[in-house]
Symmetry: C2
Subunit: 255 residues, 2 copies
């Protein structure tokens, strides 16, 4: 089974872009009248009949819509500091997509050696991985922000009147998102498995630090914002392996 991708949908008509059209018509030799499957990138699979087998802009008519195609029963945001060797980050993005992830958010830590992160290649990688693994939803690659800004955007109280936080203890994640931060230096932590099993929330955010780990300031800010410190077991994992292990732990909860 081969999925095509289009975000150019109006009514019952789907247009494929030049690349997808060439693949459909020139490579796979589809002709008018053939049934093709097109994902809209947002979770719906469109079963279509090819009406115009143009190599440059193929057009197909939608016959049936299948929402939630290849979906997973959770929502996962992986906020991961870019790795020095960016191939490793791209690999992580591909694998997390295969497993099941909704948002990949590159975040820049105070100790990140890589301070920039181009997202256009990541966009192509997650689209390709989603097609390959038959998922009609393509993960969103967020614009890079600093770790502290990312935490702020997930803070319970960020858009509420400021309430004093008396201690570093994590606040009640009443907003409906289970927020986790994995770091390496010493501290009160539970295993990610335990944290996931203790929660009924299916909307999960996991923060994974750079090679040099998060700074204590970043961890403190995360804890104040309701992130629960977790560890990923006794193995010392590279950043990209830690991120994938976090994705797998959520996947396994629902397996």
């Amino acid at each position: 089974m081969e999925l095509f991708y289009s975000n150019d949908i109006s009514g019952d008509l789907v247009r494929l872009n030049a690349e997808e059209s060439a693949h459909c018509v020139r490579v796979l030799r589809h002709r008018e009248g053939d049934e093709i499957a097109v994902m809209d990138g947002r979770g719906t699979l469109l079963w279509c009949v090819l009406e115009d087998a143009s190599v440059k802009e193929a057009v197909a008519r939608i016959v049936r819509r299948e929402p939630g195609f290849g979906s997973h029963p959770y929502r996962l945001t992986l906020a991961v500091c870019p790795t020095k060797n960016f191939d490793r980050y791209e690999w992580m993005a591909e694998k997390a997509t295969e497993i099941g992830v909704d948002v990949i958010a590159p975040v820049i830590g105070e100790r990140s050696e890589r301070k920039v992160c181009k997202t256009d290649r990541l966009d192509r990688i997650v689209l390709s991985a989603a097609k390959q693994s038959l998922k009609a939803a393509v993960p969103v690659v967020a614009e890079p922000v600093s770790v502290l800004d990312f935490i702020k955007s997930f803070s319970d109280s960020s858009s509420l009147p400021q309430s004093p936080v008396s201690s570093g203890a994590s606040s009640d994640p009443s907003v409906g998102v289970l927020k986790l931060i994995a770091y390496c230096f010493e501290g009160e932590k539970v295993s990610i498995k335990e944290a996931l099993e203790a929660s009924s929330l299916s909307d999960v955010v996991v923060l994974i630090g750079p090679e040099g780990d998060f700074s204590p300031k970043e961890v403190a800010a995360a804890v104040r914002a309701g992130f629960r410190p977790v560890h990923l077991g006794t193995s010392r994992l590279r950043t990209e392996t830690a991120a994938l292990t976090a994705a797998e732990s959520v996947y396994f909860k629902y397996l």
Copy 2:
């Protein structure tokens, strides 16, 4: 912390090979009297004092031995068909080592497109990954064999007088190894998580097929040999991602 590797140990003396010696003495500038940590590749960390800082053959005296350094509480054999693009297999070997694996066994399936698999690069990759993730045991990369021969070697009855197997139902894995086979085509399967949780065995073998899946003949042979069919969830995973997911599932059982 930096680990060196040596398998040249006699009494209390450890010799580093030329590559390790150069790294120790030329790159990291260790001198006589420095404490260095050497892994023996079989699970023990040797705390040593450098006695001869030779760039070609450094010699160190063992001060303390730490068995089980970076070990995991299970024994895992991943028998995985080589991927067409072998980079993906090498990546899997690296990541599985970080997570925790004991044997990586390349197995050639009837439907494998890649029929040969060179293990020397894999040996280097798992050694490097073990050092990087601070594990004193280096996974064994087995010599490639066919899937059917691999199954035979794990058959309950292979070294016993032949007993008739009445049906395709899996026999009691009384040999103390939990044997699992993951395949994609239809069949009676449980999730790998369920299979792991239902067993008290900590010695696990998982068979992962090639891009074109195992053949029905291979699956039947595996089931006759006591392998339990499992699935890895609803996501369609590439071979290397399936192998890593299997490793993670064992890791998570003990997290």
